[in-house]
Symmetry: C2
Subunit: 451 residues, 2 copies
Amino acid sequence: MEEKKGSLIGPEILEILSSPQSADKIRESFAEMLPYDIFVLCDDLQDDQIARCIKALGVPTGIELFQEFNDERKREIFSCFSREWMADILEEMDPDERADFVNVLPEELTEEILPLVARAERLDIKKLMEYEEETAGAIMTTDYAVLPPDITVKSALERLKLQAFDKETIYYIYVTDDQRRLIGLVTLRDLIVSLSYKKMEDIMRTNLVSANVSEDKERVAEMLHHYDFLAIPIVNDGNCLVGIVTVDDVVDVVIEESTEDIYKYGAAGEYIDYMSANFFRVARQRAFWLLILIFVGFITAWVLKQNSVMLETVVALSFFIPLLLGSGGNAGTQSSTVVIRGLATGDIKMDDLMTVVRKELIVGVIMGASLGSIVTLRALWLEKDIRLGIVVGLAMIATIILGTVLGALLPILFKKMKLDPALMSGPFITSIVDVVSLMIYFRIAFMVFSG
Amino acid sequence: MEEKKGSLIGPEILEILSSPQSADKIRESFAEMLPYDIFVLCDDLQDDQIARCIKALGVPTGIELFQEFNDERKREIFSCFSREWMADILEEMDPDERADFVNVLPEELTEEILPLVARAERLDIKKLMEYEEETAGAIMTTDYAVLPPDITVKSALERLKLQAFDKETIYYIYVTDDQRRLIGLVTLRDLIVSLSYKKMEDIMRTNLVSANVSEDKERVAEMLHHYDFLAIPIVNDGNCLVGIVTVDDVVDVVIEESTEDIYKYGAAGEYIDYMSANFFRVARQRAFWLLILIFVGFITAWVLKQNSVMLETVVALSFFIPLLLGSGGNAGTQSSTVVIRGLATGDIKMDDLMTVVRKELIVGVIMGASLGSIVTLRALWLEKDIRLGIVVGLAMIATIILGTVLGALLPILFKKMKLDPALMSGPFITSIVDVVSLMIYFRIAFMVFSG
């Protein structure tokens, strides 16, 4: 990474970093700042300069600063530390962040530094790394607050004081039996308002919502969102508490999920980290979808060849083909976008099929009629042939209606058939509309010019 | 709304709702359930049946159940209550939810029931309704915990006990001076671990992050996400605390924002509530974008007319126009999707311009070469004319490269010019690629057939 001078980082920071007593100076300058603000300020610095900041800031601020960077940048900064420092950093990181990060480190390095990491943390890393990528296990943290059922509120508060610094959250306290089986939840709010001699088992909530470690992380994020919880307990098959997923992870999952959806809408395939993926991987993935669309496109070539006599007789018919197909494709892209997104967010339900199709039909008629007349005028102006104007105008109306209706209908039908509705997004609708509207165009042309 | 019998709702619920002592029965059956679970169960019931459940469950469960429904359904259920019940419900709802809901009620009804609402809540509704839609003020709640700086930890905890039931969260406690100006933050975690004789001002955090009421709500959601806070304090121009935005709102904002982005990608205009919007509104909005695209399409008709002699001589050239333009448009849609989303999430930065364009150029060459040869074979098979095969194949390579490069370049240039990069999404890229690749196609055809 080259040194860049962003607008935010003044020469002051560079000066601080180059001064002989810099560790003290760094601590002093950043003492009052929040980790995210330091991150924004440091983002443009060189990796070794950031490593010096992290060292100077120490636990917890330095570690929190380190965790702000994305995995790739973390790896670059990490390589500036000594082996001992690397082990120290791993020991202090949040368990969920740590397991993700170790996953992206080169294996030789991991093998070298893991033995230097304290036993408890080393075992935790190994355990968390075993969970499969898209599961609750892969995003959960193991730093949660847990207490037995038979202690009083007073002693619970005392124990929490001791745990507080280590835990990701102490606002939800889980109650487990002596087998670590999850039996209750006490929020810190419950604890504060309860009488101090009450027992945990008397005040705990037992209508628990939990998720299995192997549950899809999107599903866990949805649960957190629906129930408005700050965290959700994660249990193994024996209902033993093994971790929690906290609310801050939900936003990451939602953003990731939207990106995946958007890639599908654009027929761009699976989401891959674009900046670090190599050319062939990107090309192979996209070419796959293009190829499918090209095979549909072959049909258009065939339809046109079938109508070559008409095309030779009225060459001007070909002038309007791109305009016509483009408009049909765009109208289809619009309605499929609205319907696919609506199905994803739940705004549109499967029962709404007929309502939606009827709505798109009417919208298509309104748009088709108005845009059809504009295109007719354009055709008359370009060719001064009334018959051509009629053909192009009528075909435009038909194409737009076709686009809006198919764009709404096909995604819903796909969903009904348990297929991903996003397969019927813009590019696919466009290809299908291309074929059908060409056939309609020549049918109308045949009637008008031969009639 | 018709009565539907979903798979989840058994005859038992209907039986409960029709029994003479139903209120008790409802309370009994739902006593242990979380509001979201009751919502899922009730969603398929008729509005008046849901209203009976809400009445029977009372405060807080009934109110929480009511808040689970979307605005439209809330309005329908609301209309089943008496005026007095309506006022009671408004008094008990969360302030942020309440203000949003009153906003969608018919004005006559609001005027009729607001006088029945207790004064404090009535003023709160009016105040919150004044904030503009996309601002922090519009999503904030006024049920936050606030304490003065000069009380001890011990008395702070006692006061919190009294506030706890009313507040959206008591995990963040804001400290204000006697003018209500925000001066500090104490988390409940801080409070628990502090010595009981310490004063709030001694333990409070003063490196505060707050947002102005008029700040864009997306920006506030971003702040909450970046800093990993549970809530962010909202202040007026005089730095007086007026509300808080809590972490549960972030997910709603992120989902809404993604929907808006997706609509732009599909050239479908602004997001409107599809199921309740009328035909003309939907049609007008979409026709606006279609019309712009049609004007670009007019250029394709002109380009084709310019080349009508060539089209008359080699009619087969027209067979491949939809296939060619379709592929170029799809390749452009793919790369613009990846780039626009990358710019939105921050995966791709403005400094990456050259890297991205170079990458797309290479990806375009790889895809163009492979797909170009397939199309050449198809052309040879359809027409048995080697010259046509060469023209179509070369044009395919050029079109795909053009699509991938423009799809990446134009969104970034738009962003550099401070325009919305999403304006250069699929449909727009497709239209531009249509025009340019037609010109290239005929240029190549001219060289091959005349040379």
